[in-house]
Every structure is written in C-alpha cells, then in structure tokens.
C-alpha cells in the first residue's frame, strides 16, 4: 500500500534519466533497430536449433518451425534472413485506455484505468474472438504505431496511468517487447497486467514472473476436445501455466467465456470447477463471461444470464469463494460478497466500481480478509 501512495515519488526527470540509460543500453545492443514499417527485425528469444538445422520457436506449445520468409502460427514471429525474428517488437496495433475491470481484474484495485496495448497476431484461433480483426492478422496486415518500450511507459506517466495492460490478443507472442515494457514500468512503479490464454511454455512463463505483477488467465474450456475444436489449442499446457502462476505468488484471476453449445454443459463444467479448486484453491477469483456472437460463431445465440448464474452457483458450491459473472451489467454476480457473512463488500456496475466497503481489504461487518490488493481511498469507486 505504501508503494501505491508513493507512486509519484519518482519524478519525470528521474524517470527520463532511467529511461535514457535504458535507451542507451538498448541502442548499443545489436538488436536495437525498430522498423518504422510493418515488421520489426528484433531477434526472437526462446528459439531452439533442431538437429536438422531448422529453427523451432519454444515460446508456446505450438512449437512452430517455419521456413525462411514464413511466419509461425501466431503470425507475429517468423524467419527472416535466417534468424527467428519478432515481427511486432515496438509495433503495437492497438493502444487504448481501459478500466482494469474490463480485463477482468476485480481483486486488485488500482487508481484509474490502464494503458492497454496489443500487437497483431495470436497463437490461438478462437472461433469467437472479438478482436479477430487484428488477432488473426500479421503485423504486415495491420496499421501499427512505432512505439518503443520507453515510449509506452512515458505515455503512461504523461497520462498519469498507473497500470499497463498487455491485452486484447495473446501477449505471449510479443514476449520480448512485453518484458522490456514491463521492466521499464517496474522501475517507474507502474503495475503491469498480462491478460493471457496461458498458452505458453514453462521457461518463458517463468521469466515473466520477474516483471509482470498481475495475470488474468483465460481458462477457456474444460475439455481437450473444446480446445482442439474451438480454439485450435491444448488444455494441458494451460492448466500447467495456471498452476505455475498460482505457485509463483503473483496475483491471479481466471476468466471463462461460456458459449452456448460449446462449453456450457454444466456436468463438464462441474469437473472443471473441481479441478480449479483442487489446483488453484478457493481464493482465486473466477469470472464467467457472457458470449456475444462474433467471428466464426455468429450462428450461436448470446449466453443467457441464467447459464452464467448457474455456473457461478456451481462454482461456489464447488468451494470457490469469489465467482463472478461478466458482460451482463446490473446482475448479482458482478459484485464481491464476503465469504464470511455474505455482505456485499464491493459493488460494481459494468466496468465501474460503484462502492467499496472494504477497509484494508477486510469486511467491515465480520472482519474477514478478502484476498487481493485493495485501496481504501478508491474515490467513490473508480467512476
């Protein structure tokens, strides 16, 4: 809490000095060039040379081995001039200011909204993706902004934003860029949030624990069949990532989009909830979001509120203390209730915190400690 209060103790001048040092080191490195065009040529990390000479990306379970001039499945990394290259380093295609509740992040109060960025590409193909216009594109197909890591952090400081979110598409695919932004943000006391599908291998994930403060992970379905059919991925690596994040002690929240006919079978859901409690514990917040027809699943109806509420009740019955419904503003499941006395301790409307009754994270009635990072001086919510 102390660090929150002293957030602005670092002056713009001292930040600039730090940034200058960083930028100098960055400029001296061999990989410093930022292409102002559509693709960057930043050397990719987590690359393995196979015995047959091919280069394999070790970043995510896709383990792509593209040929010269080709891209990996994510479209954000590829082989250029014999080198595995990040094509999106310093080239976000989306930059916006959004409330952290949109991520969704409920148990980590921050002052004000976050600066959110995203690059083109994604290592999954979710058939319902609502950002498919750039998640299913390569950087050559999107309009990008040339912004170095220090540009991003300076922009956040200028706008007095205390959080940077890696959001909208899978940040894993631009891990080199994300790490550099996060490292600079950390020096400036800015929190970082990675909103991810958790489709990442163990080693790169471990490296992220050093620089990322908060993880919001999509536990998108509860069977391997769903992952294979609907999002072109695998469930097991996601489960491993969830457990690793939990064990790392970083703040973790989990989100599941419930899609009619795809992952709304409540018997299957129960098994997913049991796995959740057993492996992540009862205190990790779990959000159930309403699906709205998008991309390849426009033939399906939006998720009825009743399904979200049923899932929430089943999750609570399985032992989860903080289950939420989302994309359905004005519902009971949007608020935080004290697990000790059932008092509504944080009241929300959509992405707004209307009221927080917590004092030092404790329920004012029964004193129960609610896990998370809470601000007592949240000004009548973050309205």
């Amino acid at each position: 809490m102390k660090s929150e209060n002293n957030f602005w103790s670092i002056s713009r001048r001292s930040f600039l000095q730090t940034s200058a040092l960083f930028a100098g080191a960055y400029a001296l490195s061999s990989a410093s060039k930022l292409l102002a065009g559509n693709e960057s040529d930043f050397p990719a990390q987590y690359v393995l040379q196979l015995p047959d000479g091919r280069l394999q990306c070790q970043l995510c379970p896709n383990l792509c081995t593209p040929a010269e001039g080709e891209n990996g499945t994510c479209r954000a990394r590829g082989i250029r001039n014999g080198q595995f290259t990040s094509l999106v380093y310093g080239l976000p295609c989306v930059i916006a200011v959004d409330p952290v509740e949109k991520m969704p992040l409920f148990h980590y109060h921050v002052h004000g909204p976050a600066l959110a960025i995203s690059t083109a590409g994604c290592n999954l193909v979710c058939q319902y993706c609502q950002n498919w216009q750039f998640s299913q594109k390569s950087p050559a197909e999107t309009a990008n902004f040339a912004m170095s890591p220090s540009d991003i952090v300076l922009r956040a400081i200028d706008m007095q934003l205390r959080t940077i979110g890696f959001f909208y598409t899978e940040p894993t695919i631009y891990i080199e860029y994300m790490k550099d932004v996060a490292r600079l943000a950390k020096q400036s006391n800015i929190k970082t949030v990675m909103v991810t599908a958790g489709y990442i291998n163990a080693e790169p994930l471990k490296d992220l624990f050093e620089v990322i403060d908060i993880f919001v992970v999509g536990y998108k379905g509860f069977t391997e069949a769903f992952y294979a059919d609907t999002i072109a991925g695998k469930l097991d690596p996601v489960k491993n990532a969830l457990i690793a994040i939990k064990d790392s002690g970083r703040h973790l929240e989990v989100v599941s989009l419930l899609i009619p006919e795809k992952n709304d079978d409540m018997e299957v859901f129960k098994a997913g909830a049991e796995w959740f409690v057993k492996n992540l514990g009862p205190d990790v917040p779990w959000h159930f979001s309403r699906f709205v027809p998008e991309f390849m699943l426009k033939n399906l109806p939006p998720t009825p509120n009743g399904v979200l509420e049923t899932a929430r009740k089943l999750a609570i019955a399985a032992g989860i203390k903080y289950a939420y419904t989302g994309n359905n503003p004005g519902q009971e499941g949007n608020h935080t209730y004290c697990p000790g006395c059932s008092k509504k301790v944080v009241e929300r409307l959509g992405f707004k915190v209307l009221r927080s009754f917590l004092s030092a994270g404790k329920c004012p009635d029964c004193g129960c400690q609610i896990p998370g990072v809470w601000l007592d001086d949240l000004p009548n919510g973050n309205i």
């Binding site: 295609c93 930059i95 916006a96 200011v97 949109k102 991520m103 969704p104 995203s118 058939q127 609502q130 950002n131 498919w132 216009q133 750039f134 299913q136 594109k137 197909e141 999107t142 309009a143 990008n144 902004f145 040339a146 922009r155 959001f167 909208y168 909103v195 989100v255 419930l258 009619p260 006919e261 709304d264 079978d265 409540m266 018997e267 959000h287 979001s289 309403r290 709205v292 390849m296 426009k298 033939n299 399906l300 109806p301 939006p302 998720t303 009825p304 509120n305 009743g306 399904v307 509420e309 049923t310 503003p329 004005g330 009241e347 409307l349 959509g350 992405f351 707004k352 919510g381 309205i383």
Partner: protein
Amino acid sequence: MKQAVILIMILMLTAAAHAVPANYIDEMGGVVEEISLLNLLRGLYLSEEQAKKIAELAQEAENIRAGASQEIAQLDSMPSLTRLRDELYTALAEEPPAIRTEVVKLDNRAHEITGVALDKIARLEDEVRNALTHGQQKIVWEFVPCIVPELDFENPVRTGQAEASSRLMPALKLIRETPEDLWKRHGQDYLDHILKVTEQEVGKLTDDVREDMRRRLVKHAWKIRKMKEADFMINRNKLAEDLLLVNREHTLRSGYRITGKISRFLLSPHAARVLPQWVAIHFSKESAGAKIDNSIAATASEALPLAQPIAADPTSLPANPPAPTMQAPAASSPSSVSPVDPKSDQSSLPVENRTADDADTKFWSELVPKSLARLAETPYYNHIYHAFGRTHSQTWFDEEDKYVDISSIITGAGEILNGGRPSYYTLTPGEP
C-alpha cells in the same frame, strides 16, 4: 323496415370503422415514447437502488408539473385568450384589441410559472445525474429515441474487447479525416453546424456563451487534427466527449435553467409511469430474472434454438474495418480554422476522379449529416410544451445508423392532418 335496420347497422359499422379517437395520434406517440424509454432503461443497467431513486424523482417531477399546471389553470387565461382570438378576426390592423395587453401579462405569468417549475425539475435532474455513473450519463446524453435500438447499445463494450467508440465518434472522425483542401473550404461552416445542433439540443445560448463555445470548438478541432495518431487513438473517447461540452447553467437567454436529456427521458411523465413498473418487475423478490433463472436448462443450447452454422472459413468473413494509420498530421497554428498540414492528409475519402464540386457536395450531403446523425435530436422548442413533457423529437432518419424514430413522424403527420405545421419544419427554433 328490416332493410332500413340493416342499412342503419351497416352505416353505423362503417362510421365506427372510420371513427378514430381524437387523441389516437397522441396515444401512439405516448406508447412509442415508452418503448423508447424502455430501450434506454435496458441499456442503462440501473441497479435496484438507482432505479428506485430515479422512479421517486420522476414522480416528484410529475408532482411539480401538476402543481405548475394547476397554477397556470388558476390564472384562468382561457376567456381572455379566446376573446383576443375572436376579436382578432374582426379588429382593424391599426386598432389591436385592448385585451391583448392583459393576455400578454397572463402569458408572461404562465411562462414564469413554467420557468420556475423547470428550475425545480433541473434541480431534480442534478439528483438523477448524481445517482448515475459517468458511463450511464453518457448513454443518456447520447441516446436517441428509438423503437429499435442500435446494436452496440444492446451489446455494450465487453470484457477483452478492444474498441469502445462514442456516438460522437463520427463527428470526431470527420474533423480529423477531412482532407485539408475540403476543410479549408468547409471546416468553419461545419463547426458552426455543430454549434447549431448543440443549440437545438440545449436551447438558445447567449451571444457570449455561443462565441466562447465557437472559439473552443475551433481550438478543439485544431487539436484533433494536429494530434499524432497514437495520441489520437488513446484520447479519442475523451476528445469525442469534449466536443460538445456545454455548461447548461447560466447559458440560456431565458434566464431559467433548461433541463437536459436526463430530464427529457428519466423525469418525463412517461418515466413516472414506466419506472415504477420497471422497478416492480426487475427488483421484486420473485423477479422476471429469477423466474428465468429457475427454469434454466442445463445448457444454453438446450434452451435456445440455434441457427444454421456458417462456414468456418475465415476467407468468407466480412472485410476488415478501417484500421488506424501510422501517419501523423503535422501541427499548425490554432488561429487557423484549417489547421492540418496539407502533407498530412489522412482522408478516407476516395480521391480518384473526384472534382472539388463532387467532394463539396458529398461533404454536405453525406458526410456531415452522417457525422451528426446521432446527435441531432431536438426534443423541445417551446418552453411550456417542453416543461409538461409533450415530447416532440426531431432526428436525422438514416437507416444506416440503425435507429428508427417514428415518434416525430407520427406526431408530425397528425399535426399536418389537423392543418398544423410540425415544429421540425421550423428552420429557426423558437427561444425557450
């Protein structure tokens, strides 16, 4: 005899078939207004506390109107009014009826009572505003009466979604993307047009306030056009909100506070009827939501019939919407109305084979109305008419913008049928 009875019955039936209640049009307009209000409520997602509070305030506003109405009735103006009307048939032009002075006094008094009532309602509006979140206030401000709400109104920005655009965005984009040559010719006129629309929205401004706002708009447009693309992307929602900043107090020529859209929708007589029902249905113990919940099937797919799946081939998907460009316009002096460096023309308008005349025509006939389509709802022109909630909206009707406001068309048609002239034909709205 028998034939005569049958004939009389046929005549009576025919007459009945053609007989339309005198207030039929008003009734239709009223139902349309309630539909519109329900659309708004569905988009606001009021909490129980908010809904109850606003319902109470709507009732209070209704009481204020009833009180004012009674006071006006006590003035007993009708005999004087009818006498003036009758005398005007025959009085000579150079000898106006003596009763006119008395009628003017009575009319002024009626306006005064109405103004006081409006001031009271404006105070209630402040209370409603305090009960709403900033996001909800924005929804009300941008709401346009409709039978079919826009898609994004029913599906607000969702978790993880990248785009959130204000309804003012089309105006913002027009200011930013209009090519330099076109902006030089029409920029100031366009900003004046925005000012006019704003004035229709909030009421006639004083000269000082109008001039201040005009200067602010010019500066704001300059800022919008000179910004770097990344800054524009980050700030676009705020820029859009700031486009029509109007201090609603002390800005009107009438001297009274005029009520805004919060009153127009949430403190109207319709709101006083609709809100208690809304509260009863949504927040009673056995609410409609709870009933739905109780009967929910194990899976959503069991509960709902599904449409045929579409091809899963991404190539069959709709075209990619326009994405932001990397090019940043250069800055120029704020004193100029045409602020963008000619090199930084980022127009999305087709340039090939386009003459200046074509571009000018398109600017005014297509781009300008479209950019303001969602703003130009002008509910009130008349002070008393306004105060008593007799809504009379004016909208740009544009199918592409997916809202349908037939309320004004129905009421307007009714007025034409009755020999009147709908107020949306008025070119210069009357001062409240």
